[in-house]
């Protein structure tokens, strides 16, 4: 008590506290500038939506709550997709595997199927495990998934017939090809189009992780 009453000590303590606060401010990156990321930046950014879909384990996944405060990469695709979907996942996974444990814990990769008829929970889980077991797979009614996509500026998925219907259920699914990036401040900030490379993710993910809400 006597120490605190000492003005020199009090001033030193105050200075230390202010320095700590300042450091915390410095740790959070300044607002992203245009051209900072490898994909188009939304201006203004959009709030992270609230919705609940079913995970591959059969349990409800509340998207906003489960990804709160994390860098979240969200993609709408399907497992019969021959190139856009697996390439996106493979490129993200290649970079994800090289991140530190802390960085991995600070992000979520979420894949929502646009083909719930064929993408059973088991198939979706097995497919995603080819890329990384931490990747989240979600499914829900087609109408709900389409309305979610539209709410985030993405086109709804549509079933396309293939010319060789040699087996029942042979069709393609037209879907948006962009990965939506929500920064840790729970804002939709960047849309990454198909064609984004591993080196782009390697550069952008650490930057995205630093975009946090100022306290």
């Amino acid at each position: 008590m006597q120490l605190i009453r000492n003005p020199v000590f009090a001033l030193a303590l105050a200075a230390l506290l202010l320095a700590a606060c300042d450091a915390k401010e410095r740790d959070a990156a300044p607002p992203p500038a245009d051209g900072m990321f490898s994909g188009p930046t939304l201006s203004p950014p959009r709030a992270k939506p609230e919705f609940t879909l079913t995970s591959t384990s059969g349990t409800p996944f509340q998207f906003r709550k489960e990804t709160d405060g994390k860098l979240t990469l969200l993609f709408f695709g399907y497992t019969h997709c021959p190139d856009v979907c697996p390439l996106h996942m493979a490129n993200i996974a290649a970079v994800y595997k090289k991140l530190s444990y802390e960085q991995q814990q600070a992000m979520r990769v979420v894949f929502v199927t646009t083909d719930p008829d064929r993408d059973t929970p088991q198939r979706l889980r097995t497919w995603l495990d080819n890329f990384h077991p931490a990747f989240v797979g979600l499914a829900g009614p087609v109408d709900l998934v389409n309305s979610l996509q539209q709410s985030m500026g993405m086109p709804p998925a549509a079933r396309e017939a293939t010319p060789t219907d040699t087996t029942a259920g042979s069709y393609g699914v037209a879907h948006g090809a962009a990965v939506l990036a929500f920064t840790p401040d729970d804002s939709l900030r960047v849309l990454y189009p198909f064609g984004i490379r591993q080196q782009d993710w390697a550069k952008d993910i650490p930057l995205l992780l630093k975009v946090k809400a100022r306290s």
Partner: protein, 163 residues
């Protein structure tokens, strides 16, 4: 001594020729069609290979003076082979069936990720990185061209297709 030197030079020439042919890719009999960078990402591992789809990419050059048409692609290990043209539609990637592909004279077309590609499904055997696939491209003018696709992991496709 001269015979030995001659044999060595001859062998070196053969190796050079073979190597250059390999680098140039698969060619049609008339030499007008040259197919290079034939690469396929290994399909995702699923319990039943018949439920898998995979893509094949390639660069098709037409060195002839007339346009040619790719009318079919076949692979022995798949029950169905087709090529799709993927084009943007309101921002969505749309898989549209394509029954043929024009290859202009003195030009080339590319099967590449996110664009036109050969799609295989109903595979009858498992395919893994390191495997090869025999792919037959059938052209209206040049006839059949047999090429060998290298199978690589999806994460290695960028490197495999880099110029």
């Amino acid at each position: 001594m001269r015979n030995a030197v001659g044999r060595v030079i001859g062998a070196a020439c053969c190796v050079t020729l073979i190597t250059s042919c390999t680098r140039e890719g698969a060619r049609s009999e008339d030499g007008t069609i040259v197919i290079t960078r034939v690469v396929a990402p290994a399909p995702v591992r699923l319990n039943d290979p018949s439920l898998i789809t995979m893509a094949v990419y390639a660069t098709i050059a037409n060195r002839g003076d007339a346009v040619d048409t790719l009318v079919a692609v076949s692979v022995p290990h798949a029950r169905a082979s087709m090529h799709h043209t993927v084009g943007p539609s309101d921002g969505a990637k749309v898989m549209m069936p394509a029954s043929m592909l024009l290859v202009p004279a003195k030009s080339f077309v590319r099967f590449a990720p996110g664009g036109s590609h050969v799609m295989l499904d109903e595979l009858t055997r498992r395919i893994a990185p390191g495997d090869t696939l025999n792919v037959t491209f059938s052209f209206r003018r040049a006839g059949k061209v047999q090429a060998t696709a290298r199978v690589v992991a999806y994460e290695d496709i960028e490197k495999a297709l880099a110029p």
